[in-house]
């Protein structure tokens, strides 16, 4: 009888739904507290206090913000293309959520352990640009459109070098599966042998998530707020949530590719007792802190500098590094044996 139940579709679907909820729930809470952490951390870095009034240490601030946003009116600009205008923030948010399906939180702790996990992540992150460009076009406003154009060019440019960096990692692993990538780092995190690529990847993720110093698409000094200037209330909140969920996603991608995922830094006694998911979350928090740190300390790039960095420096450099990595692995006979999976 139990056998019959476990093999029925209903139970399978219910189990998958439960898994999805187990990921999305904490993710949304993490997004809420990331916004608070950002304001607090930047506040401290600039010798301010940041929001500290609502609740102890300002811990209820995100909920106050959420309530405020929900209570506001959703404004649809008269000249806007209504369908696309409302679809764009939803798309941004959906894309930021669905990518989590393949992220391994621990050994075997993954919703969909697919063979081409890293390609799936890359594909989903490359779609993020659609939310931005659709919002910019549908708003029917100059500022929004300019912001969207900048963003499209920027995200497409940095994706190229990100792809090449991923190829570097894949050369060392021999599999596109994210769990296999983490397992390959049991002896040494890829952040050490591929340190230059680690740096290039991190900077590219900054550009890909439109974060400072590459936040030109929303550059408030010249574009007011860029592509989401016409959005208000919950449609704005979806963009906001999507942007922060994307930051967490990109951090987890960095952790999986370069910082050993759920593995402890050293496989010695007090460290390897702590369960894998805790390590994974700690590492994500470290990368996110650097995100905030960069935002608090660096001035915004100019547009031509941004393009120069992406196309003239990162692209040739990561391409050369692919050749170097492949050559080194081949010469020292360290090319990974390709797994059957």
């Amino acid at each position: 009888m139990i056998d019959l139940l476990t093999h029925s579709y209903v139970v399978n679907v219910a189990w998958i739904l439960a898994q999805i909820l187990m990921v999305i729930g904490p993710l949304l809470i993490a997004v809420a507290y990331l916004t608070l952490a950002e304001r607090r951390v930047i506040g401290f870095m600039q010798l301010r206090k940041g929001p500290n009034v609502v609740g102890p240490f300002g811990l209820f601030q995100p909920f106050a913000d959420a309530l405020k946003l929900m209570a506001k009116e959703t404004i649809l600009p008269a000249g806007a293309n209504k369908v696309v205008f409302l679809f764009a923030p939803m798309l941004t948010f959906i894309l930021a959520i669905v990518a989590w399906a393949v992220i391994p939180f621990g050994e075997g702790l993954v919703i969909a352990d697919i063979n081409v996990g890293i390609l799936y992540l890359f594909a989903i992150s490359s779609l993020g640009v659609y939310g931005v460009i659709m919002a910019g076009w549908a708003s029917n406003s100059k500022y929004a459109f300019l912001g969207a154009l900048r963003s499209a060019a920027q995200m497409v440019s940095y994706e190229v070098s990100m792809g090449l960096v991923i190829i570097n990692v894949l050369l060392c692993v021999g599999s596109l599966n994210l769990s296999a990538i983490v397992e390959a780092q049991r002896d040494m995190w890829f952040a050490l042998p591929l340190l230059p690529m680690f740096v290039v990847f991190f900077i590219s993720t900054l550009a890909e998530t439109n974060r400072a110093p590459f936040d030109l698409p929303e550059g408030e000094s010249e574009l007011v707020a860029g592509y989401f200037v016409e959005y208000s209330s919950m449609s704005f909140a979806l963009f906001f949530l999507g942007e922060y969920a994307n930051m967490i996603l990109m951090s987890s991608m960095t952790v999986v590719l370069f910082m050993g995922g759920w593995l402890p830094p050293f496989d010695i006694f007090p460290l390897n007792v702590i369960p894998g998911p805790i390590w994974f979350i700690l590492k994500i928090m470290l990368v996110l802190f650097v995100f905030l740190w960069v935002r608090a300390t660096t001035p915004r790039y100019r547009y031509d500098q941004l393009m120069r960095l992406g196309w003239k420096i990162f692209l040739p450099f990561s391409l050369l590094y692919v050749v170097a990595t492949a050559g080194f692995l081949l010469a020292t006979d360290r090319l990974p044996t390709i797994m059957a999976g």
Binding site: N115, V116, L119, A123, S126, V129, I133, L149, V156, G163
Partner: protein, 217 residues
Amino acid sequence: MIEALFFYLFAGIMLASGLMVVVSRNPVYSVLFLILAFFNAAGLFVLIGAEFLAMLLVVVYVGAVAVLFLFVVMMLDINFSEMRAGFQKYLPLGLIVGGILVFELVAAMYGDVFKGATLPEAMDISNTRALGNVIYTKYMYLFQVAGLILLVAMIGAISLTMRKREGVRRQSVAAQNLRSRAETVEVVSVPSGSSPENLSTAAVKSTKTTSRNGGNT
């Protein structure tokens, strides 16, 4: 059973969005429907177990090609009524092209071309590896030729669009980095009561150097 359901779902949406690409009045909608069609094609690839191709389709076509496409279409200043006027003029040509394609498809399906073809057997190696095994061995030269064609297209596009203009102030990072402190900044002490203009020889010199080196001040 579930698989068949998903096949008809993907195939149905793909056909419908393909139709919408052609009949949409707004070209931006056309591109968006094209993207939807790509997605469903990726879904069909997943159904036959070609997950690598599915992901590549999304990365390359949706993530890069369609973005640039959308980019261009959004920036075009299109008069929709004028476009409708041209519809009848171009209809016969479109029908001829469409007819030829349909004929080829039908001929391929019911002719001898696909007679012996079946879906490849599911192997225990992933299709990423299977593709790599043939592309980098059997079809190596064709693969290289494809790369060369893309290179030529790239060089062509660059040479068509690149132009040298006079009077453009470009940032030269090397020149900026090679400047020494001495030729840029001079610290002078201004006695109180006198105006800085009186000792401005040094200041004038330094501004000149700055602009000559293309710095953006």
